[in-house]
Amino acid sequence: MLVVLLMGEKEKKSLDVFSSLIIDLFKIKKKVLGKVDCQKTVYFAKRLGAPVPFDFRWNIFGPYSYELAHNCDYLVMEGLLQYTGEYKLNNRFAGHHVSKLEPKIKNRLKKFFEEVDETCEKRGYNRILFMECAASFDFVQSNIEEGTRRKEKVSDLLDELKPEKKEDFRRMSDDAWNLLVQSKLVN
């Protein structure tokens, strides 16, 4: 039986562009703490130059892509990802993966996510909330008129867009903005 024989072999599953990118990202970020964190991780990957094929729209938790959510569900169904509140890569598929990401972008992403970790550690921020805050700041600043892209203006808009997160976002706003500036996401 071909399949039984094959199943015992090393997996040589052919990966599409998106699956390959997800493996790269999850290896760089190390921990993806659920669906919100996953959305924001891929959002920043796109902003930092990774070839993400999805568009992000404004949503209650900031930038969101239905296609990404839909595709992640399929990666879980296909066994590439495991989801138990947190996402984990299945090493049976990901172990032999050869990255197709440009080294320059890979380094940029690595630096960005390390910076997020350091900030959260230093300030005691909830990582998911900080990712949501930084992604929301970035989405709003990049979608308003160029001349108005100031931290105060973005903060004011976010107060109105997400009043339930006002206090948290105000507390994190300096660090979120600095992260964007350091990563050259703000002009």
Binding site: V3, K13, D55, W58, F139, I144, L161
Partner: protein, 437 residues
Amino acid sequence: MGQRSSKFFRDPIHGYIEVDQEFLPIIDSPFFQRLRRIKQLAFTDLIYHGAEHSRFGHSLGAFDLATEIAERLGIKNKTKKDEFRLAALLHDVGHPPYSHAFESALEEVYKDRKHEQYTEVIIRDTEIGDLIESIGLSKNAIVKLIRGKYVEQPEFSYLNDLISSELDVDRLDFLLRDSYYCGVPYGEYDIQRLLLAMRKKGKMIVIDEKARHAAESFILARFWMYTQVYTHHTRRAFDIMLKNVFTKDTMKNLRFPAPTKKDISRLLVCDDAWLTGKINDLAASPRRTNEKIMASHFVKREPVKRVIEKIAYMELDSQRIDPDFTAIETLENFKEEIATEAKIDPEFIFFDKPWKDLPFESRYRQYTQEKEGSAINLIFRDGKIRDIALDLSSLAYNVSKWKARIVRVYTPDEKRNELGKIIARKCPSVKNLIISK
């Protein structure tokens, strides 16, 4: 004769659609008129012959619904109201010929050639943009609404969702329209009840709980239309064939315009008839390439046929991996060996996962405790708001926990039985999934 104040378009779904005089030049513009020549459902008319309706009708339908919703929600700001209505009218203006079918082929060859990008360039850089500005509206605001990025005026951020979300003017129109033209009743739902029950609460669109049944029938209509029409196996066969007619080599010769200011005027001639002509040319070409063979099958309406099909509904939380899917996917890695034995060109064995690469979601959003994602929210008597998919007493609660998964293997008809026999011999565990003549 006094100046006309508006014009009426007779529409089979919404009756008379009234369009303001100031919007008529936009509708009459060549880019918008091009939509008359782009079928809404690509090759679906090769299965459901009535499905010859165009993106033009759908765009007018979405506009009509936007007008009605704006009235119901009492949007007083005329500028925002009109920008929202025009966003609905223009949301599909950049669709390539044969809509999503050709868009998938384009994406295989080029990066960044989605219809949204063409839409953006048409609105920003053609006469449509000028027409929008001439009536005092902002083309940037319309582009942002279409792309879900309108955050500059937070009090109107909910308009993003009405253009694209679980409950938007696009879906509200296309389910009814596609259902009507395909002649299948599955896409019908009680739109008047749903619109009557629509409210704005803060920055959220909600449905009065009393109309829960109408919201549920909308969700089920989507589910049935996706299973019965949008992922119909023969429609997918033609989509696959189109991708294999327009490969990297043949796509280059098409010189399909890029979504840029410089190139966009060339899109005007790119309609369904133009692409059909290109398929005919390829079918008649003297070089015997795989693209030519596929084009010839296309012209004769000889779809590739299913050899294997597996459809299952899976609970996302269960983490269970169905061994049939694993078996079929493993076969994909050994396509060449199987093809050699069956004496088929491996390029003529097609593995298709229609639910994976749909350009739109397959059904109502999946159950998630993190609540991320747009939702259909019910508002209860006590003022509490709850996502219908998280409401235990809702039909949607159960429906949304499951996700459909489909894998199909196709090949040209004349090789179907042979390929089936070899797969059955090599991989007996999938024998019961094999479809023969």
